[in-house]
């Protein structure tokens, strides 16, 4: 380790330029590195320890979590909502990203500006706005009734429907941006070739465009799914009291019931499932991206 540091700094000096020398040495980065260990690893370890030590040492917190229908229900809610949100965000985000690539520059600039501005707008403000839109007398119910799709106002808020709608909206930019990058890098001549080969729009989409955009879908989808698993604000504001999501449960366990052990165990289960998913994705798309079999 020290000899490596040594030899790097020597080449840095021979090169005579400041930048490589600065970046070639590990030494100056050490405090930041320790900080990262402290901030990122320590809380996880603390979490794990609390989940198996409180209130008494043992795995009883995990037994409680996995043995109770209520808690299993919360896990199920969390995974179902996250899956639906991810699927919806991809289904809406893909055509939007495609449109952004093919539309004239002036138009796409405007759409990008709207996307970015919405991301800069305060999260709470945006979520409250959805609350207003989704309530029984809100704009969406009024429109649905005006068109005649429903006679009675639908309950779109204080339940998982509201949570799903609100989170899909929040997550959209996180799929649109990576997908835009991937799609704009696809050579449009390849799609023309597909058309002349006889592929109609649907075949060109499913057999060429989607496979080529898969890395962007995976990156955006994973990001959204993982963020959704632990999302708190939107479920707390748009969700109901009966159908909780995991982040709400953890908050309740820790804040209201001060049950740190059970809260930590729930958080740890969330972390583990996220890691497993991430590993699976990496295994799936990490190699195909490199053009392997």
């Amino acid at each position: 380790m020290s000899s490596l540091t040594e030899s790097r700094s020597v080449t840095g000096r021979q090169g005579g330029r400041r930048m490589p020398r600065l970046f070639g040495e590990v030494g100056p980065a050490l405090p930041a590195f320790l900080l990262i260990v402290f901030f990122f690893v320590a809380p996880v370890v603390a979490l794990l320890l609390r989940s198996v030590l409180e209130p008494v040492p043992g795995l009883q917190n995990y037994e409680t979590l996995l043995g109770s229908a209520t808690y299993i229900g919360v896990f199920a809610n969390t995974f179902i909502v996250s899956t639906v949100v991810t699927a919806a965000a991809l289904a809406i985000g893909f055509p939007v990203a495609w449109a952004l690539v093919v539309m004239p520059m002036t138009w796409s600039r405007i759409v990008f500006a709207i996307l970015i501005l919405s991301m800069w707008t305060n999260l709470l403000a945006r979520t409250y706005a959805w609350m207003v839109l989704l309530q029984r007398t809100g704009l969406i119910n009024k429109m649905l009734m005006a068109v005649g799709l429903t006679d009675e106002p639908l309950t779109l808020v204080n339940n998982l429907t509201g949570v799903t709608i609100g989170m899909t909206y929040i997550m959209l930019p996180f799929v649109i941006l990576p997908l835009y990058g991937v799609i704009s890098n696809i050579d449009k001549a390849v799609l023309r070739a597909a058309a002349l080969c006889g592929a109609n729009r649907w075949q060109a989409l499913t057999r060429v465009l989607l496979p080529l955009a898969a890395p962007g879908m995976a990156a955006g989808g994973l990001m959204v799914f993982v963020m959704s698993l632990g999302y708190f604000v939107t479920p707390a504001l748009l969700g109901g009291t009966s159908n909780m999501m995991l982040a709400e449960l953890i908050a309740q366990l820790v804040q209201s019931l001060t049950d740190w052990g059970l809260g930590s165990a729930a958080a740890f289960v969330l972390l583990l499932s996220t890691l497993v998913l991430y590993g699976l994705m990496l295994k799936f798309f990490g190699t195909s991206r490199l053009g392997g079999q």
Binding site: D187, A189, V190, R192, A193, A194, A195, L196, C197, G198, A199, N200, Q203, A204, R207, V208, P211, L212, S288, G291
Partner: protein
């Protein structure tokens, strides 16, 4: 009157204020290999894209066996195309790329396998079935693209500068392959290139594009022997141009004067409506004879030799007229007046007025 196989009828294409293609007319016979030859930006690709259905013409019609193609979308035209860039599907193997047009046509599995094998054999890539495009060279990728474009037996194959990204040796090899495949399959090929040598080597007929129009259509020898415009003369083969003054013209022939006093009579005249009286005389370097001494039986154009280059089977002489214009002359090796010819020597040039052309 029989219906022509493929008819490009008065095509015009505007992109905003830019006129990319203007009044393009061409009739193509079944089984022909026709090249679109012209410099970059002359409208070759645009014409091809209109045939492929990627662009709609502003005016005009494309008819295949008398039926308009314009109302048929690209994916139903059943036309093959090889592009300038590599357009194989990067996520599919070579075999799956060739199978793609067959699978979207819902051919049976056995047919697909059989056809893919035939196509790989046609382009001489047997055994490459499972490779990914990224693991093949540019030349191999274009072969696969050719196989993919021919797999569904299209009546027409479009090729847009497919070899321009390859080096000379590979290009020669693939030109040869394209010729062979054209003979073996009887497909009608429309081939775009900016390389006159490639056009001459490949085509049955060449359409010379200039500024969005077709200047002339003909076989290589026809274009070379009888260019319709100055542009065609310059673009196909080597050429010498001398400025001249037209003194008399009648029945497609003209009498001209070079450099004040050298008269040439009965030269074929091509009227491009330039400045009246002013013209350019076209000579072909290998159709000019050179003499070291003042000729007696005929009147030679006196020149001074600027440079002599030995090029193997022929010798390239650069000479200058008394009024300062340059003429290049190609003489066969062993020509009686070549030995000892060097820079600064006096010489006299002779040419047949019937083989020259005047453009005014």
């Amino acid at each position: 009157m029989t219906v022509p196989f493929l008819k490009i009828d008065g095509i015009r294409k505007e992109y905003g204020p830019v006129v990319a293609v203007e009044d393009v007319n061409l009739t193509i016979e079944r089984g022909e290999l026709v090249t679109f030859l012209g410099p970059s930006g002359s409208g070759k690709s645009t014409t091809l894209y209109i045939l492929a259905g990627f662009e709609k013409p502003t005016l005009g019609d494309i008819r295949l066996n008398g039926q308009t193609l314009l109302s048929t979308p690209s994916h139903q035209r059943n036309i093959g195309m090889v592009f300038q860039r590599y357009t194989l599907f990067p996520h599919l193997s070579v075999g799956d790329n060739i199978a793609f047009p067959l699978k979207v046509r819902r051919k049976s599995k056995a047919d697909v396998t059989e056809r893919v094998r035939e196509m790989l054999k046609l382009v001489r890539l047997e055994g490459y079935e499972d490779r990914k495009p990224a693991m093949m060279s540019g030349g191999q990728q274009q072969r696969v693209a050719l196989a993919r474009a021919l797999a569904y037996d299209p009546p027409i194959l479009l090729m847009d500068e497919p070899l321009s990204a390859l080096d000379k040796k590979l290009r020669d090899e693939l030109q040869h392959e394209i010729r062979r495949i054209h003979h073996e399959t009887d497909v009608t090929i429309l081939y775009v290139t900016h390389d006159q040598e490639e056009a001459l080597r490949l085509s049955d007929r060449i359409a010379v594009f200039s500024k969005g129009r077709i200047d002339q259509v003909g076989t290589g020898p026809e274009l070379y022997a009888d260019p319709a415009t100055r542009f065609v003369a310059e673009f196909v083969g080597d050429s010498d141009f001398l400025s001249c003054r037209v003194t008399h013209s009648q029945g497609g022939r003209a009498n001209v004067v070079l450099g004040g006093d050298f008269a040439v009579e009965g030269v074929p005249l091509h009227d491009e409506r330039g400045t009246p009286g002013e013209g350019a005389l076209l000579l072909r370097p290998e159709r000019i004879d050179l003499s070291r001494s003042e000729p007696t039986g005929w009147r030679g154009l006196p020149v001074r030799v600027d440079d002599v280059t030995f090029l193997g089977s022929n010798v390239h002489v650069i000479a200058q007229t008394g009024w300062g214009e340059t003429v290049s002359v190609r003489l066969p090796f062993g020509h009686e007046h070549i030995s000892g010819l060097s820079r600064g020597d006096e010489a006299w040039l002779r040419f047949d007025p019937n083989e020259a052309h005047v453009f005014v």
